[in-house]
């Protein structure tokens, strides 16, 4: 008896009720196909042994609980308030299914409605879905939304400064759909200028993607690019950091059509890259093209206010081969985590987090720029992340700093050998001034 609470006596009773002699009789059809080889697995462990084993295994991973982390690149070490873990640990939330039966799922439905509202507020756009897998798939789904046979526009324009993994995911999603991907900016760029987008615009483009900020932390003059895109009938998709949205003009205000992003900074642990949370918002005219679930408000037959999954005819379980996306799930529990995080922070708290990130980043930028041989490669407004060039390999610095319990940042050489002296550094509100100084001193010590 493992997690199945059925006794041997009950098993025999059940077999008798069914009218078969033994368990094997229930699998005669499978046996007839051929006897399956035995399951090839290690012996079961007791809960005690398993826990001890798991603690040992986890112990072989270094983690940000013990290291001062400056690692970003799409996954950030932000503060997670205690309320988040406590709410999402309520098993009525985490052991429930997709809220198809609204009468027994108002908890999930209300929280998704809150999530959608908060994402609309952050992005300044009219409609949001209930989330998708992660930032990369959100961006891919957004591109798909803009491709429409009727317009004959089959190209999307991406900046060269997208996170490298996002670009790979876009290839996987868009190339089979015969979308042509074109890049603005050179491969060795640290920031793609407004001109580099605008000069490429033509009526062949369905969409342009603008990062907010880009992989290296740069914010640009979006309004110029956006008005040029509009003139050419190109849809504007913004890939946004959710914390940055509290500090900078919203995509809606800037005139974007769709805003997507990675919700991990909103109360979700780095957890070796997942599960995370892709958020998607768009102006109202895209409502029927949005993939995934959407929750709407309505009334029950007694006139009581409540929430249901709505516009379901967009989705695969109804539209089958005619749906625009095959997605069936959202990241329900992570959307709840983000919702609780945003409710905890409120408008003022989230703004404070964003300002702390911004100021600490700028403090460190100035501090590092003064080191001999170190150059900060960003020139404009940066948010939470920036890249420096070192007079030596970034990997060497990373290794030396690890010995001082510091994750120095991301060695850009892992993506591109020609960038091996570049270090990408992220600074969240968690990093104290003392830690920023410690990093600067430690880097100085390596030079």
């Amino acid at each position: 008896m493992f997690y199945s609470p059925i006794t041997q006596a009950q098993r025999e009773h059940l077999l008798k009720e069914i009218g078969v002699p033994d368990i094997d009789a229930l699998f005669a059809d499978m046996r007839a196909v051929g006897k399956a080889s035995p399951l090839d697995l290690p012996e079961p462990l007791s809960e005690l042994e398993l826990k001890q084993f798991a603690v040992r295994l986890a112990g072989q991973n270094k983690h940000t609980g013990a290291y001062i982390s400056f690692m970003g690149g799409g996954s950030y070490d932000h503060f997670i308030p205690s309320v988040v873990g406590h709410v999402i640990s309520r098993s009525e939330f985490y052991t429930s299914y997709t809220p198809y039966q609204p009468e027994m799922s108002q908890g999930t439905l209300r929280s998704i409605f809150e999530f959608q509202t908060m994402i609309c507020e952050l992005t300044g756009l009219g409609v949001s879905n209930a989330s998708v897998y992660d930032g990369a798939s959100a961006l891919a789904e957004a591109c798909v939304m803009t491709i429409n046979d009727a317009t004959k526009r089959t190209k999307v324009l991406l900046p060269s400064t997208l996170p490298p993994s996002y670009r790979e995911v876009l290839d996987t999603y868009l190339l089979p759909k015969s979308v042509t991907i074109q890049t603005a900016g050179s491969q060795d760029a640290v920031c793609v200028s407004e001109e580099e987008f605008i000069s490429q615009f033509s009526v062949d483009f369905a969409a342009v993607v603008l990062s907010y900020p880009d992989f290296f932390g740069n914010m640009i003059s979006y309004d110029r690019v956006i008005s040029a895109a509009k003139e050419n009938g190109i849809a504007v998709i913004m890939l946004c950091d959710p914390i940055a949205l509290a500090l900078f003009k919203s995509p809606g205000e800037l005139g974007a059509d769709i805003a997507v992003g990675e919700g991990q900074p909103l109360g979700i642990p780095t957890a070796f890259g997942g599960p995370y949370l892709g958020f998607m918002a768009a102006s109202e005219k895209y409502l029927r093209l949005l993939p995934g679930r959407i929750v709407g408000q309505t009334y029950d037959k007694n006139g009581t206010l409540g929430y249901v999954l709505t516009f379901q005819t967009r989705e695969q379980h109804i539209k089958r081969e005619k749906s625009l996306s095959n997605i069936c799930t959202n990241q329900g529990l992570l959307a709840l985590a983000a919702t609780v995080y945003m409710a905890y922070m409120g408008p003022h708290g989230l703004r404070r987090v964003a300002e702390l990130c911004y100021k600490k980043t700028n403090y460190l930028k100035t501090r590092l720029a003064s080191l001999p041989g170190v150059t900060v490669l960003n020139t404009g407004v940066t948010f939470r992340e920036f890249v420096i060039s070192l007079p030596c390999d970034a990997a060497k610095v990373g290794k030396a700093l690890k010995a001082q319990q510091i994750f120095a940042g991301i060695d850009m050489g892992r993506f591109d050998k020609s960038r091996k002296n570049q270090l990408l550094i992220a600074v969240t509100e968690k990093r104290s001034t003392a830690e920023l100084d410690q990093l600067a001193e430690a880097i100085k010590g390596c030079l």
Partner: protein
């Protein structure tokens, strides 16, 4: 009525406690100068911590989870989510690891992922699994891309048709279209299995493969799988196993040994990771040896006892996720497999099938069971007759079950059965819960004849009743402030 957090919002209230700003000398004026400063703050709620906690605690009580009671949702495998899985995933050595740390510093998680892949191979017979897909639908997408890459390599780029039985999940056809292919539907026989003759008549040189759920969505094992495999392989097609119903086969059937070439699993079904109110899940994609080179990258390999994240697979279909997929879910599935081992997984399959056949035999005198003969982990009832005779639909029975404290079964699926109720019996349900469900179903049958209003007006005990879903679409309100 206060239903959402914004209803409790009040200026001046807050829950956050953040450190003071140590850099008051650094100004945000350069953002303003760049014309990028946000003037109006987003209207996130302003609430105190205690009100926040009470609100979400209240919301949790409006939900129903596996921990609340029996969840008979067919094809969803709502089994118990062991608590140790949660605790292991929460260990800092897993939850606080950054995805771009150096390999030497993440040997524990890489070992776990490597071993999980081996275990899944050990259960289903495939040569390798890609763990990156974040959900079953993404697993399907990856599997079809693999099929596409394989055919292209074989000089068969013209193959672009996927056969799909009419009993299939809607995701299958949606995934086929997503990779740029077309579908051809295969009919079912009267007993609900694939019609082999119809399948053969649909074969042609441009058939790339078939997607098959086995056991199928009626809970019936496709016992002509050998003939199906021979026929599809005969035209150079591949067999795709939709692992939605994998809970029914462990220890008894290995899809790779029966001719399937590609598969996806749903770890949130078969391997006990929580459904989370609709996600996150994980949908690993498995392949036979000739297809390993096409799996999504990066993958974990071991070289001289050192685990490595490898990206150098020139034939790989590419990347599907920002990082490596839903690692936290993979940790839970790993923990589950280590708890159960071979005897536990086999027992899970046996007991789920045992409970399904038991319930089916108990309901056979009261309802029309569509799944004839021995079923696997689930079965389907049709209320076609009841609809005609008493004007009662599957929806009414589903809603009435709520009054008995059960979450309703899957309804109106599979599409080939009219007024379908699809009932699954995960092995973690006590016999007592199954008996209580049977009793409720029998009472409901009685009521539909004698007191149909009880069903038509159901549910009666839930905090809200049936919704006006037409209004939700005609007058959409999708966010609080709009």
């Amino acid at each position: 009525m206060k239903t959402v957090i914004f209803d409790y919002s009040e200026q001046g209230k807050s829950a956050y406690r953040l450190p003071a700003d140590p850099h008051t000398d650094i100004l945000i004026s350069d953002i303003e100068e760049a014309g990028l400063l946000r003037a109006e703050k987003p209207r996130l709620a302003e609430v105190s911590e205690v009100e926040l906690i009470r609100h979400y605690t209240k919301l949790s009580t409006l939900n129903y989870g596996v921990d609340s009671g029996y969840y008979p949702l067919g094809s969803c495998t709502m089994k118990y989510n062991p608590k140790i899985n949660q605790d292991v995933a929460a260990l800092e050595g897993f939850s606080a690891v950054h995805p771009l740390q150096d390999e030497e510093d993440i040997q524990g998680i890489l070992q776990l992922l490597y071993e999980l892949e081996q275990y899944l191979c050990g259960v289903f017979g495939f040569a390798a699994f890609g763990l990156q897909p974040a959900a079953g639908a993404q697993g399907e997408y990856a599997g079809l891309l693999i099929m596409k890459a394989y055919h292209a390599d074989q000089g068969n780029a013209h193959k672009n048709i996927i056969l799909i039985p009419d009993s299939a999940h809607g995701t299958n056809p949606a995934s086929v279209i997503a990779v740029g292919w077309k579908i051809r539907t295969v009919a079912s026989t009267a007993d609900g299995r694939v019609d082999l003759a119809d399948l053969k008549s649909k074969l042609s040189d441009d058939v790339a493969g078939i997607m098959l759920t086995n056991p199928n969505t009626l809970g019936l094992f496709e016992n002509e799988i050998a003939q199906i495999a021979e026929a599809v392989h005969g035209v150079g097609g591949l067999l795709y196993w939709d692992g939605a119903n994998a809970n029914a086969v462990m220890g008894y059937f290995k899809p790779a040994e029966a001719g399937f070439d590609i598969a996806h699993l749903n770890l949130h079904k078969t391997f006990s990771t929580p459904h989370g109110g609709g996600g996150p899940g994980a949908g690993p994609v498995g392949v036979v040896s000739k297809l390993v080179q096409y799996l999504p990258a990066p993958r974990v390999e071991v070289q001289e006892g050192v685990y490595k994240l490898m990206t150098n697979y020139p034939k790989s279909v590419g990347r599907l996720h920002s990082f490596y997929g839903n690692a936290g879910i993979l940790v839970r599935a790993y923990t589950y497999i280590r708890s159960l081992g071979a005897p536990g997984l086999k027992e899970a399959t046996e007991n789920s099938v045992l409970l399904a056949n038991y319930m089916k035999s108990k309901l056979a005198d009261h309802y029309q069971i569509v799944s004839q003969g021995v079923c696997k982990h689930e079965f389907v009832i049709s209320l076609k007759q009841e609809k005609k005779q008493y004007g009662i639909r599957a929806l009414d029975v589903a809603k009435r079950l709520m009054d008995y404290g059960f979450y309703p079964p899957t309804i109106y699926f599979p599409l080939i059965v009219s007024e379908a109720l699809m009932i699954e019996t995960p092995e973690t349900e006590p016999v007592e819960a199954i008996d209580a469900f049977v009793e409720a179903m029998i009472q409901i049958k009685h009521d539909m004849i004698h007191e149909p209003q009880l069903l038509l007006n159901a549910p009666h005990v839930t905090p809200v009743s049936r919704f006006d879903e037409v209004k939700a679409v005609r007058e959409p309100r999708l966010s609080y402030f709009r």
